[in-house]
C-alpha cells in the first residue's frame, strides 16, 4: 500500500499543465474519512476464508502472508459487505460493524 501523502495544493504556476494526473494515485488519497460504520475483525472467529478480501470493493482488507490481517481504515468506506459475507466460525461472525465514535 502506498503511503498516505498529505496533499499540498500547488498553485497554477507549479501544477502540471493541462488537467493531467499521475496514474495510480488513488492509493495515496485518503477516502475512508467519511465512514459512519467501521468493520471490526475478531481473529478468534476467523477461518481465513478471505471472502472479505474477495468482496471488498475498495481493496481495504489487508492480507499478509496469504492471511487476513485487518483493515486499511484509510480506504474502507464502511459499506459492510465484508461483515455480511463473513461466514464466521460456529455461528459467530469474524467481522462485525460498529458505529464510528469520534
Amino acid at each position: 500500500m502506498a503511503d498516505i501523502k498529505i496533499e499540498k495544493k500547488k498553485g497554477w504556476k507549479d501544477l502540471p499543465a493541462c488537467d493531467y494526473l499521475e496514474a495510480g494515485s488513488a492509493a495515496a488519497f485518503e477516502t475512508g474519512d467519511w465512514r459512519s460504520e467501521r468493520p471490526v475483525w475478531i481473529p478468534e472467529n476467523c477461518i481465513q476464508c478471505l471472502f472479505c478480501w474477495v468482496y471488498c470493493p475498495d481493496s481495504a482488507v489487508v492480507v499478509k502472508d496469504s492471511l487476513m490481517a485487518g483493515f486499511n481504515y484509510k480506504h474502507c468506506k464502511g459499506c459492510g459487505i465484508c461483515a455480511v459475507e463473513c461466514p464466521g466460525k460456529k455461528g459467530k461472525k469474524a467481522i462485525v460493524m460498529e458505529a464510528e465514535k469520534k
Binding site: L15, C18, E22
Partner: protein, 392 residues
C-alpha cells in the same frame, strides 16, 4: 520567394482541404454541413486515394466529430475537423473540453448564420457564440489567408506555451465557394514547416501512464483554468512569431491585426473576414477624393489583440466597428464591445460606433461601407449599434 509561384485557382474550401492534405494529420473526424462540407469531402477523397495516411472517421454528428478528435488528440495524434454553423454549435460542449484538456485540435470552420430562422449563408454568429470556449479564433479575408492560416494554426496550437485548439474561419460562400488564384506551397515545405506533432503527454504512451480529464472541483479547477487563461495570453506572442516565420519562409507575413491606410486616417473601421477586402476598395476610392479613411482588420479575435489595437487606433478620431453578428446585449455588437473596452485605457479616446451588417449572408456593398465612412467622417454617429442593409 525566389522560386516560381505555384498559382492555382481554388475556392476557400478547396484551399483549406489542400492545406489539410499537406499537413497530413493523423486523424480527421467530420460530419458534413453546408458550406463547410466540401473541405472534408475533398479531404476524404485524399484519404480514399491514399495521398494522405490520415485515419478518417465518418461520425454521426459534429458532437461526435469533435469528441473523436479529442480522443485522438489526447491519445497523441494530430487531429483536425471541419464544420460550420449548427455543426459548430453542436460542438460547443466539446469545444470547452478540447480547450480545457489543452488539446491542439484545428477546426477548418466556415462562418454561417445560426438558426432560427434557418439560413445557410455567411455571418459570424457561429464562431462568435464560441468565443468564450478557449479556442483561438483566426478569421480569414480570402482563400490565400485560409490556406496559410491553416498551416500556421497547427504550429500555433501545438506550441508548448499555447496547447489550445483553434478555429480558422472563412466567410460562408463569399470565401468558401469563391474561386481565387492562390499560391500553393510545395508539399515538402509545408511538411517541414508544420513538423511532427510531439506531445509531451499522450495517453497511448503506455510507459508513462497518466489520467486525463479527472474531476476537478473547488480545489483545482480554478488553477487549471488560470493556466488556460495564461496559455491564451501567451498565444499572442506565438501567433506573431509563427506569422513572421511564415513570412520569412514563404513571403506572406501574418500578425494579429492588419492595418490598411491607418497611419494618417481620421476615420477607421474595424472588420473581420472577407469584408476587409471590400473595404480596401472603398478606401482606395475615398482616398482618391482626399478622404482620410483607413481600416484595421482583426485577423485574430481570440486572443484579443488589445495592445495592437490600442497602438493602431490611438490617433484615429473616430472608429466604426463592423460586426457580422449581434451579441444581443441590447447595446453594441461583440467586437465593438471589446474594441471599446481596450480603447478605454487611452487618455485620448477615439469616438466609437457599432455597425451590424450582413446577417444571414446579406450583401455588404461598396456603397454601404462608403456610407459608414461618410457617417464616421461627419461625426454624427449613434450610441447604439446601427444596422446596415436591413429594411426598416
Amino acid at each position: 520567394m525566389s522560386e516560381k509561384k505555384n498559382l492555382k485557382a481554388k475556392t476557400g474550401n478547396e484551399a483549406m482541404a489542400e492545406a489539410m492534405r499537406q499537413i497530413n494529420p493523423d486523424v480527421v473526424a467530420a460530419y458534413p454541413i453546408t458550406p463547410a462540407t466540401e473541405i472534408v469531402q475533398i479531404f476524404s477523397q485524399f484519404v480514399a486515394d491514399g495521398v494522405v495516411n490520415t485515419e478518417f472517421v465518418a461520425v454521426e454528428s459534429e458532437h461526435s466529430a469533435l469528441s473523436a478528435c479529442i480522443g485522438a488528440s489526447a491519445a497523441g495524434a494530430r487531429a483536425m475537423t471541419g464544420t460550420s454553423s449548427q455543426g459548430l454549435a453542436l460542438m460547443y460542449e466539446m469545444m470547452y473540453i478540447a480547450a480545457g484538456l489543452r488539446l491542439p485540435i484545428v477546426i477548418a470552420e466556415v462562418n454561417r448564420a445560426l438558426s432560427a430562422p434557418i439560413n445557410i449563408h455567411g455571418d459570424q454568429s457561429d464562431t462568435m457564440g464560441a468565443r468564450d470556449s478557449g479556442f483561438l479564433q483566426i478569421y480569414c479575408e480570402n482563400s490565400q489567408e485560409a490556406y496559410d492560416s491553416m498551416i500556421q494554426a497547427v504550429r500555433i496550437c501545438e506550441h508548448p506555451d499555447v496547447l489550445l485548439p483553434a478555429t480558422v474561419s472563412t466567410d460562408g460562400f463569399i470565401i468558401s465557394h469563391c474561386m481565387e488564384a492562390i499560391e500553393l506551397l510545395p508539399d515538402e515545405k509545408v511538411k517541414e514547416f508544420v513538423g511532427t506533432y510531439k506531445p509531451k503527454n499522450w495517453l497511448l504512451d503506455v510507459d508513462h501512464p497518466f489520467t486525463l480529464g479527472a474531476i476537478d472541483l473547488q480545489d483545482y479547477y480554478f488553477e487549471h483554468k488560470r493556466q488556460e487563461i495564461e496559455a491564451m495570453r501567451k498565444a499572442t506572442k506565438v501567433i506573431k512569431e509563427i506569422g513572421k516565420e511564415f513570412g520569412q519562409k514563404f513571403g506572406r507575413s501574418y500578425d494579429m491585426i492588419e492595418t490598411y491606410k491607418l497611419e494618417d486616417a481620421e476615420a477607421a473601421i474595424v472588420v473581420l473576414g472577407s469584408t476587409a477586402g471590400t473595404a480596401k476598395v472603398v478606401i482606395e476610392e475615398m482616398r482618391k477624393q482626399g478622404k482620410k479613411v483607413g481600416m484595421l482588420k482583426l485577423r485574430v479575435f481570440r486572443p484579443f489583440p488589445f495592445d495592437d489595437i490600442r497602438e493602431a487606433l490611438k490617433d484615429v478620431k473616430i472608429v466604426g466597428v463592423m460586426d457580422r453578428h449581434d451579441g444581443y446585449n441590447g447595446y453594441v455588437a461583440p467586437v465593438c464591445s471589446e474594441v471599446r473596452s481596450c480603447l478605454y485605457e487611452l487618455d485620448k479616446k477615439p469616438k466609437i460606433a457599432s455597425y451590424v451588417y450582413g446577417l444571414g449572408g446579406r450583401d455588404i456593398t461598396l456603397e454601404m461601407i462608403t456610407e459608414i465612412y461618410e457617417e464616421l467622417l461627419s461625426g454624427k454617429t449613434d450610441n447604439n449599434a446601427k444596422y446596415i442593409g436591413v429594411r426598416e
